[in-house]
């Protein structure tokens, strides 16, 4: 059970809603993933040109817990404004704090992220900051009272997977709030690995929406997250340098 603030969830896979090839595929992928938390972005309406219905509005949003992000914000103040706009929909009180500090890598600005998190906690939000994989920053955020830490596995949309498992492990072990590995997941093995490291959840988008078959990948990610979590709970064996026979070493049928 994943617990975030007052909410609890069966699913440990959080799914993004961006960049699917079509609405039908998105709907099917979301359904197959069995994700209970969906992320999305807050933007100006394209009222002067766009007469197309917004695909997000075609999902039955009441079935999900909505996790808007503050993508587009470069300062804490901008992030707070976006978060308040999202909350004004009356549909959500959770926020993924995303304050980008560098356009090329899309890595988060730790100082603004910390500031935004503090301001949003004061406003009563359930605050889930997207951060770099820095254990000191994670502890500072935990001390503020954030409801989860969401360190990136590698740059957003890069699909490079977990490039610094040691740092993720430090964060998981050194904090006592849920750690959700967010961004950079490329394939099911990355999602399973994150869960085996002890993450409480995985948030991904492009790994599913950009796959050749997003629906099949959504299922693969669901299973990977479950498998990784089960593996973590079961407790893996210790690694050894040399072989240890699985079959009995006595009673050999030899001459």
């Amino acid at each position: 059970m994943l617990k975030l603030g007052d909410y609890s969830f069966q699913s440990r896979l959080l799914l993004g809603t961006g960049k699917y090839p079509s609405f039908e595929i998105q709907k099917e992928a979301v359904s197959v993933s069995e994700a209970e938390i969906l992320t999305f972005a807050v933007r100006r309406m394209n009222i002067f040109e766009d007469s197309q219905p917004n695909s997000l509005e075609q999902l039955d949003l009441s079935k999900y817990t909505l996790l808007p992000n503050t993508a587009g914000a470069k300062t804490a103040e901008e992030a707070v404004r976006i978060a308040k706009l999202a909350k004004a929909s009356g549909l959500c009180d959770m926020i993924k704090v995303e304050v980008i500090g560098d356009d090329k890598t899309l890595l988060p600005d730790p100082v603004e992220t910390l500031k935004a998190s503090e301001m949003l906690l004061a406003e009563g939000f359930i605050v889930l900051p997207y951060t770099s994989d820095d254990v000191v920053l994670a502890k500072r955020l935990e001390n503020l009272g954030v409801h989860a830490i969401m360190p990136g596995a590698s740059p957003i949309g890069s699909g490079k997977g977990i490039i610094n498992p040691l740092n993720l492990k430090f964060i998981i072990e050194q904090t006592s709030i849920p750690v959700i590995v967010d961004a950079g997941i490329g394939s099911p093995k990355d999602a399973a690995f994150a869960m085996e490291l002890g993450a409480e959840g995985v948030l991904l988008n492009t790994a599913v929406s950009g796959a050749k078959d997003p629906v099949k990948m959504a299922l693969a990610m669901k299973l990977a997250v479950e498998a990784g979590r089960l593996g973590f709970e079961a407790g893996r064996i210790e690694e050894k340098e040399y072989a240890v026979a699985s079959s009995p070493t006595t009673g050999m049928v030899t001459s």
Binding site: G16, F40, A41, R43, F48, L85, A88
Partner: protein, 67 residues
């Protein structure tokens, strides 16, 4: 009156006075939309009571796919 709507200057017909009128003018009454006037977020209850004024800066915001 003339307002700034999502970054664009628009002239509104005389009968458009409230936020509710503005939403119907753009056929958005059944859409999920959050309205901000002069950087102040409007509660749904305010949509029919809040009167727009000449020069108001209005933002209409919604949710889009994202990660």
């Amino acid at each position: 009156m003339t307002i700034q709507l999502n970054g664009k200057s628009v002239i509104l017909p005389e009968q458009v006075r409230s936020i509710k009128d503005l939403l119907s003018h753009y056929h958005l009454e059944n859409r999920l939309v959050i309205v901000e006037v002069n950087k102040e977020i409007m509660k749904k209850e305010q949509h029919s009571t809040f009167k727009l004024s000449d020069g108001d800066v209005v933002e209409m915001i919604h949710f889009v796919g994202g990660g």
